[in-house]
Each structure stands twice: as C-alpha cells, then as structure tokens.
C-alpha cells in the first residue's frame, strides 16, 4: 500500500503564497519617491549564445554610469541601472522588456545583441516611446518603423561587408570563398562582398550557408576547398568558426582565413592549438585607437584593449547620459529628439560622458566622439562611418595589423 503522504499545498495556502509574492512584486512601486534614483534599463544576454558578450557590455555600461554618478548624476538624480537577462531568446526578451518598460518605467533599454531579440523588442519600445540601443547587425532592424526610437552603433552588413571586401582585395587575394552561418546577415554580406570584390578585381569563387551547432563542418570545408580559394572568409560565430578552423586545418588548408573578431575570441584561441589558428585575420569595427574616448574606456573598464562590444556599450551609456542631460528630462522621446544634438554637429568634441555633461551644464554645444567610432547617426539610426581594426593571429595571440 502506498502511503499517501501529501504535505498538502492546499488551495488556501497556495492563494496565500501567491498573494505574498504578488505583494512582493508591488514593492518597487511603493519605494518610488521624489528624488529617487533615475532608472535606466539594460537588456542584454547574460545566458544563452550571447552570454559571452552580454556581461562585458554590461560592465562597460556600469563603468560609465559609475563615473556619471560620481560626477553628480543626471538632471540632479543618481542613476541606477535595472538589468534584465534577454536569455538570447526573443520570447524571453519580450517578457523582460515588458518588465523594464511597464514596471521599472525606464526611458531607455540598452544592450540587445541578437538580431531576432532586437526585432522582437523594438515594437514594444517604439509603441511605449522607449529608446533602444543595440549592437545587432541585421540590415532589416533600422528599416523597422521605429520612429527614431532606435539607434545602433554596430555598422550594418552593407557597410561591414563592403569594407571587408576592400581589405581582402587589397591583401592580394584573387579567389575568395565565403562560408556563412545561417543568420540574417548571411546573404546580404555575401552579396555585398561579392560586388565589391568584383569592383576591385578579385572574385568570389563560391559561397555557402551552413547550419549552426554542428560538430563537424567537413563536408562544407570540402565544398569550399574544391573551388581552390586563396582566401576563405568565415562569416560565423565562435562555436562554429572554432570547428571550421579545425576542419580546415585537418583538410590541409593553410591559406589566409578571414573572420570577425567576435568569432575568434580569446576563448577560441585558447581552445585551439596555435598552428590551427596561425595566420587567421580577424576584423572588428574599431575606434581610432588614438581616439581619447578609446583610452578613457580602457582606463575606466580596466581592460587594456576594449573590443567592439565593450566600446559600443561605453558609447550607449555615454550617449544616453548626454541625451538626457541635453533634453533635461529622462524620457524616450527626449532621447530620440536629442541624441543627434549631442552626437554630431559642430559642437565641441568630447570623449566621455562626464566631460560632455560639464560643457552641457555651461550651456555649450557638444559633439560626442565615441570609443567605438564617431557615433554620428543617419535618420534611421545607423552609424554613418566606422573604422575597422585588423589583427593577425600568431602563436595563438592576435597581433595588430592595421586600422582602416
């Protein structure tokens, strides 16, 4: 006979427990009072595929906000960051964004990373007049009807692919093969790169799109090598590029390989033997490393050479701080209407939020020059120009080639 031992969660106890938790949920509203901290939202991947970049972006934003707080905060208020994890999943991200918008009532959400997450969250933002800053690269994002409530500091595919192809052609490669992960950027990148390569006298001898999360890409590698390329462009993410680099090495290919630096991270270099990664060229959007903003970001975060995501996150926190100060109010609409007034134009060039805040307080016009680039935006929220940094991997370490 089975002992029927139900520590009964009776209906009453369930209702009581639910009520207690619901009261807990309501607490932040009670704590809100005049002069309370100004809350800014961060929605970035802390778990899932973006779990490597999200925390670093978060750290960079925190560093800027700490500085702003130390200098007296914004519009007379201390700044608090409300952080939610988007789980690199659009469905979870939408729920998290609702919380930020409706419960925390943030004027801005900073930090979406995956393109699908940004596309899912963006409608919530513009409908609720909340500003959104992102690194997602898919061209379609800035084409959404966002009414100005969105900026992205990441160069779009068109800009990136064109610049990459210019570099590849200038490096002397004549026959280029491109392997892309199945992602929104795959086709536009292939198309644009092929176009520019042709203009510059090189040729795209072939391209393929592969599935993510495979344990081997041997057949894809064979397909690529059949075309006898003198450069293979790996347009994917770290997990798959790791496997492809290994498979290319095993297949005996030692020619130049070209990849985004987010796909050849320190982790990847640690995971693969140095001979497998030797000669890989990595590219990333870059600030002019001579830019004072870059040096300041490095000092602030304690990272010798902040990467593209860390610098972009630095720039969001700075742009948002300056936008709020310029608008003299912390609203999404205020940010939308003022972000270009502090990021471009003929004002005094400033390289950090604190520096800009000081000038704004004196009633001066400013032009923020960021750590990730000049931070000048088109009407639809794309950056106008961006520099790229090229590294070559030697002995498992990236060695600086050039910035162009």
């Amino acid at each position: 006979m089975t002992r029927h031992h139900r520590i009964a969660i009776s209906r009453r106890r369930f209702v009581q427990a639910t009520g207690a938790l619901a009261a807990g949920l309501a607490m932040p509203a009670i704590g809100r009072a005049q002069g309370a901290p100004l809350q800014l939202g961060i929605l970035t991947p802390l778990t899932g595929a973006g779990g490597f970049d999200g925390p670093r972006m978060l750290k960079a934003m925190k560093a800027v906000i700490d500085e702003v707080n130390a200098a007296g905060g914004l519009i007379g208020r201390k700044v608090d960051l409300v952080i939610e994890d988007d789980q690199t999943n659009p469905e979870a991200a939408v729920r998290a964004a609702r919380k930020l918008i409706d419960v925390s009532k943030v004027p801005v959400i900073m930090g979406t990373w995956a393109s699908a997450v940004t596309s899912a969250v963006a409608p919530l933002c513009w409908e609720s007049k909340t500003f959104l800053t992102t690194v997602s690269g898919a061209d379609s994002i800035t084409l959404l009807p966002h009414q100005g409530y969105l900026i992205r500091t990441q160069p779009n595919n068109h800009l990136q692919a064109g610049k990459h192809a210019e570099f590849i052609a200038a490096s002397g490669a004549k026959r280029v093969f491109i392997m892309s992960i199945q992602a929104p950027f795959a086709q536009p990148t292939q198309r644009r790169a092929s176009e520019v390569l042709k203009q510059k006298g090189s040729e795209m001898v072939g391209g393929l799109i592969y599935e993510k999360e495979k344990t081997t890409y041997r057949s894809e590698v064979d397909q690529a090598l059949k075309t006898k390329p003198d450069l293979v462009y790996l347009n994917g993410y770290a997990p798959d590029v790791t496997v492809i680099l290994r498979d290319l090495y095993r297949a005996g290919y030692a020619g130049p390989r070209f990849a985004q630096s987010y796909a050849v991270t320190g982790k990847v270099l640690d995971a693969l033997p140095p001979e497998v990664t030797a000669g890989v060229i990595t590219v990333q959007p870059s600030a002019d490393i001579d830019s004072p903003a870059f040096g300041l970001a490095a000092k602030r975060t304690g990272i010798a050479e902040p990467d593209s995501y860390e610098t972009q996150a630095t720039d969001w926190a700075s742009l948002v701080s300056l936008g709020i100060a310029k608008a003299k109010e912390a609203t999404g609409t205020g940010l939308r209407d003022n972000v270009r007034k502090i990021s471009q134009g003929s004002g005094t060039k400033v390289y950090s939020a604190v520096e800009g805040l000081k000038l704004l307080a004196e009633g001066k016009e400013i032009n923020y020059e960021g750590a990730s680039g000049p931070c000048d935006f088109t009407d639809i929220g794309d950056i106008i120009d961006c520099k790229f940094r090229y590294n070559k991997i030697e002995n498992g370490k990236p060695v600086f080639l050039k910035i162009a």
Binding site: L25, T47, R98, I101, D102, P123
Partner: protein
C-alpha cells in the same frame, strides 16, 4: 505595472491554450508530443504570411493557422501511428526542429532568420499600448475559456473515454472494437489545432516572429505547465500555465534582493530558482496541483 501584469496574463493565456492542446494529445491520448512548438510555429507562420503577404483579415489568418496546424497534426499522427512512447517523442521533437530549420532557410517565404515583422494586431496603432494589451487579454481569455469548455466536454464525452482507454492500453481499446488509429489522428489534430491557434494569437500579439522563437524550450515550458497543473486534467493545464509564467516572472523580482550577486550570477540563479520551484512543486504534488480525477463507474 498594470500593463506588465496584463501582458504577462496574455502570455499565460497563450501558454494555457497550448497546455490545453497538449493535454488532449499527451494527457488524454497518451501520445508524447515533444514537438508542440512546431505546431505553434505553423499557426504563427500561416497567419503571419496570410495577413502580411495575402492581405487576409486577422481573424481569417488565425483560422487558417489553426486549420493548418490541425492538418499537419493529423498527418503526423497518421505517419507515426504505430510509434509509441519515446519513439514518438523523438519523431515529434525532430518534426519541430525540422519546421524551425525550414523556416530559417526558406528565405523567400519566411524571410529566414530575419523573421517577419509588422504582423498586424487588432486595432494596434489606434489604441494605446495598455488598451491594446487589455483588448488582447479579453480576446485571449475568451478563446481560452471556449477552448477549456470544449476540452472539458471532450474529456467527459465517450470520445475522451476512448482516448484514455487508448492511453492506458491500446490493445484493449482495439479489442473493444475501437478504431485506435482514427481516434489518435483526431486527438492529435484537435490538440495541434489549439497549439496552432496559440501560435497565431502570439504572432498577432507581438507583431514579430522568427525561427529563434520556436525553440524546444517553449515545448518544455508547456510540458512543465501540464505536469505542474496535473496531466490529463484541463483545469490543471490552465493552472499549470499560470504557475509556470508566475515562476518565470516572479523570480525576476526576487533576484535583486539577493545580496552580493553579479548580474550574471543573478541570471543563472534565476534559472536555477525556476527549476527548484518546479521540482519542489512536483515533489509534494507528484500528480500536479490538480490531479486527474477519473470518473467513477457507478456499480450496476
């Protein structure tokens, strides 16, 4: 705050509809369907494409999505009629993944991993976000209520009894003269219809769908909702869906009060906490919060 609670209630309502659908397939007929999210995706894509590309009204797209999911569901049941238990689970899991991979690659139709944005919602744009959420909550609540009543009717009707008989012993049901395959196909189609309808409701609610949304995690949430609520019981399906959304969301508010955690640790702890809550719930309620009550057979 209100808007957030309303939006989460809509999410829970959509989860509840999925749980009701899965309950017919899994709870009543005993067919383990790990591909629930696949039918959800079919409903979402059909209505998104019908309204965006063919200019159908929202209600018509939703009905088409529901029918589409039901047809695929029936087809899957026909193909897999002889598979049971784990084998059926593997096939349905594979089906859902196949649908996701197709939606990622059939770029001309589905726009690939970019997803489809701008899917119309009823009166979206002419209402404030809160009004829209409220309206949608009304629609979802009404649909869930109807689905619940229909499911209850179905569970108590002779049809439901046959499904339970098939679940408990297929051979006995066959010996009793029941056309097992026919019942399985119909049960699968009915359940898939509810899943597809939920997908359509989701698409019109959030205005954006992409393959990344239709990952197995969502199937697991719905499975957990059923297990937490009580498998085989429609009331359990409803309660379970709300419990899962409540766990997912309430943990968000608890974590900031845990001292000394970085944001990353907090995010990990939150997922751990959700798992723990479900484990505790099932430890003390192995048959779910509202266990299935089988109708007594009156002594003759």
């Amino acid at each position: 705050m209100e808007n957030y609670v309303i939006a989460m209630a809509v999410s829970a309502g959509i989860y509840a509809l999925m749980a009701l659908g899965l309950n017919v397939i899994w709870g009543l007929a005993g067919m383990i369907n790990l591909g629930a999210v696949g039918f959800f995706a079919i409903g979402a894509y059909i209505t998104a494409l019908a309204t965006l590309k063919l200019g159908f009204p929202i209600w018509a797209g939703t009905i088409l999505g529901t029918i589409g999911a039901a047809l695929v569901g029936g087809g899957v049941a026909l193909l897999t009629g002889r598979l049971r238990g784990d084998y059926l689970a593997i096939v349905t899991l594979g089906l859902a993944e196949t649908i996701r991979v197709i939606s990622s690659n059939m770029i001309w139709l589905t726009n690939g991993t970019d997803g489809l944005s701008g899917i119309p919602g009823p009166l979206r744009g002419s209402l404030s976000p809160t009004q829209f959420n409220l309206l949608y909550l009304g629609v979802v609540a009404a649909i869930v209520a109807v689905a619940y009543l229909l499911s209850e009717r179905l569970a108590q009707a002779p049809f439901g009894r046959v499904l339970r008989a098939i679940r408990d012993d297929e051979q006995v049901a066959a010996v009793a003269g029941k056309h097992v395959m026919g019942f399985k196909v119909r049960a699968f189609a009915i359940g898939a219809a509810a899943l597809g309808l939920a997908g359509a409701l989701y698409a019109h609610y959030t205005s954006y769908i992409a393959p990344d949304i239709f990952v197995p995690l969502l199937t697991l949430y719905i499975k957990l909702a059923l297990l937490a609520g009580g498998l085989g019981n429609n009331r359990g399906a409803l309660i379970g869906a709300f419990v899962v959304v409540f766990f997912l969301e309430s943990t968000r508010f608890v974590i900031p009060y845990v001292p000394g955690l970085s944001a990353v640790q907090g995010a990990a702890l939150r997922e751990f906490l959700i798992a723990l809550l479900l484990l505790v719930l099932l430890r003390y309620n192995p048959a779910g919060l509202v266990p299935e009550r089988l109708p007594r057979i009156a002594p003759s």
